[in-house]
């Protein structure tokens, strides 16, 4: 096998990994949905670069000695071998979506934006479904307390309460481009007698425990949700939210 062929195999492996992440939907664990087709496209290009002649695996066998490209490629660095690392990590470890273990350093409360809060959407089956970002923003930043008395439905995973006081926080990550820039949105769940396992995904219905808005406080405490109906659900796809701006 010539050096070019070895590189072709590696490009093929990398491209196939990208295609697999795209096709199986696992790419959603790492990047926002808008980027997923681009990951697939990158996989196609990588596979093509690895396969197509004159340098790829599908080239005609060179008639003479040497590997055809001859003096074209100069001495190559070995650093390209590192491209094998993400391939092996994806195949061996299959990194999951970010979970409770990543929360501590990434917790965030959304800003108030321009202070305009659109009307709530209509309730479905007795509760208003909303993103964690909308719940947090209305709870913490809306001076007119649009959440007061409204029954809401939230989806997130359980994170043990800080200080080991029992109870848990409902958590959802919001990512902007990829999981490296994730921030955790959290609400304290009160009134659920059942202990919930760390990282268990839950659908929680309940009402917000009103508190005066902290419009300009950069790090207010997370809002509290008085739960009256909690049941476990499968991890939603995609697992993240993608904007701290809920309007529009």
């Amino acid at each position: 096998m010539s050096e070019e062929q070895t590189h072709s195999v590696l490009l093929l492996a990398l491209g196939a990994t990208a295609l697999w992440l795209w096709w199986g939907g696992d790419a959603l664990n790492y990047v926002r949905p808008g980027l997923v087709p681009l990951v697939g496209a990158a996989g196609v290009v990588l596979v093509a670069l690895g396969l197509l002649p004159p340098l790829g695996l599908l080239r005609a066998q060179p008639a003479g000695h040497g590997d055809g490209s001859g003096d074209r490629h100069h001495h190559r660095s070995r650093v390209g071998w590192l491209l094998l690392v993400p391939v092996l990590v994806v195949l061996l470890v299959q990194p999951a979506a970010l979970g409770s273990y990543a929360v501590s350093s990434r917790s965030v409360i959304p800003g108030g934006g321009d202070g305009q809060f659109p009307p709530l959407t209509a309730p479905v089956r007795g509760a208003v479904p909303m993103s964690m970002a909308e719940f947090e923003t209305r709870a913490v930043r809306d001076p007119s307390q649009s959440l007061a008395g409204v029954r809401v439905r939230l989806v997130g995973f359980a994170t043990p309460a800080e200080g080991g006081a029992g109870g848990y926080r409902l958590t959802r990550f919001v990512i902007f481009c990829c999981a490296a820039d994730a921030e955790a949105l959290q609400a304290v769940v009160a009134g659920d007698p059942t202990p919930r396992a760390r990282d268990q995904w839950l659908e929680v219905e309940g009402t917000w425990v009103p508190r005066p808005a902290a419009v300009d406080d950069p790090s207010p405490p997370p809002p509290v949700l008085k739960a009256d109906l909690v049941h476990p659900v499968a991890q939603p796809r995609p697992p993240y939210e993608y904007s701290v701006q809920f309007s529009g």
């Binding site: 062929q5 490629h73 061996l92 990543a102 481009c177 490296a180 701006q245």
Partner: protein
Amino acid sequence: MRSTVDPGGAVPQVVAGVSRRRRIDGRLVVLLVLIALSTRGMLAGSLDPVALRTWTTVFVAIVVQALPFLVLGVLVSGAITALVSPAVLERLLPRSPLLAVPGAALAGTALPGCECASVPIAGRLTARGVQPAAALAFMLSAPAVNPIVLVATAVAFPGQPRMVLARFLGSLATSIVVGLVWSRVGDQAWVVRTRERLAGGGGPRWLAFTSAARHDLWDAGGWLVVGAAAAATLQVLVPRSLLLAVASQPALAVLALGGLAVVLAICSEADAFVAASLREFSLTARLVFLVVGPAVDVKLIAMQARVFGRRFAVRFAPLTFVVAVVCALVAGRMLL
């Protein structure tokens, strides 16, 4: 004695030795991937240390997120090699750096790409005979001030259009100033290595294209992996609380966010949202974060060290950092 003058005996031996070593390399890849496939997910259960689990997700996320932009970048750099002859570039680009550098910086604003895409492109431009100062100005401006990034910034800072303008001016000024400074004090010898290594060219265009694209993918891709690993490690190890404690000191806050931009290595399409979430910090400090990030971070330093050489990187990174901080502070003073 006789064997050394006998070419018929010596040459095949060498060829056989080289190809045997390479055959092992190639089969190693196949073997590793096959093992990985057959034991899929087996390691996941044993990765209980929480930091390691976060690390793998963040690491893969950075690589996956950068991959499309890297591929786009190497396709463009392959096209430059195959289609743009040095003679054409010489005619198009003004000879004086005073004109070429701002021209290249403005040209960069038209290419929507990630910073990982622009490093190999700049390498190819230098190899094609573009003066390094202009290629570097292009490399700095392309990821920082393209339309996608500006729209993302406007979305992340609603009701604050001055933030978008300040980012545009700060980043454009950074790329022009760094380019001009480099044209004055930069030593050709620090980048000339690029020209030797990447020269290639000639022959059928398709071969030149694939050869250049594959070469750049190999190099830049490898260093992207190094940078992603470094960024993931620092994200896991440096607690956010430590950074926030710093936010209360204005001067320290500027340096801290500048340093954070270097360390986090977030792509320029995303950094505005991260900056928007750092509400503890002043707008000016967050502007520094936005101007520094696309110009210099751990991932870029690693890639530049490969494309332009280590001697280049150790001089270019500090220069860019200082210029970016100063330009952001000036833009912030004027606009925010």
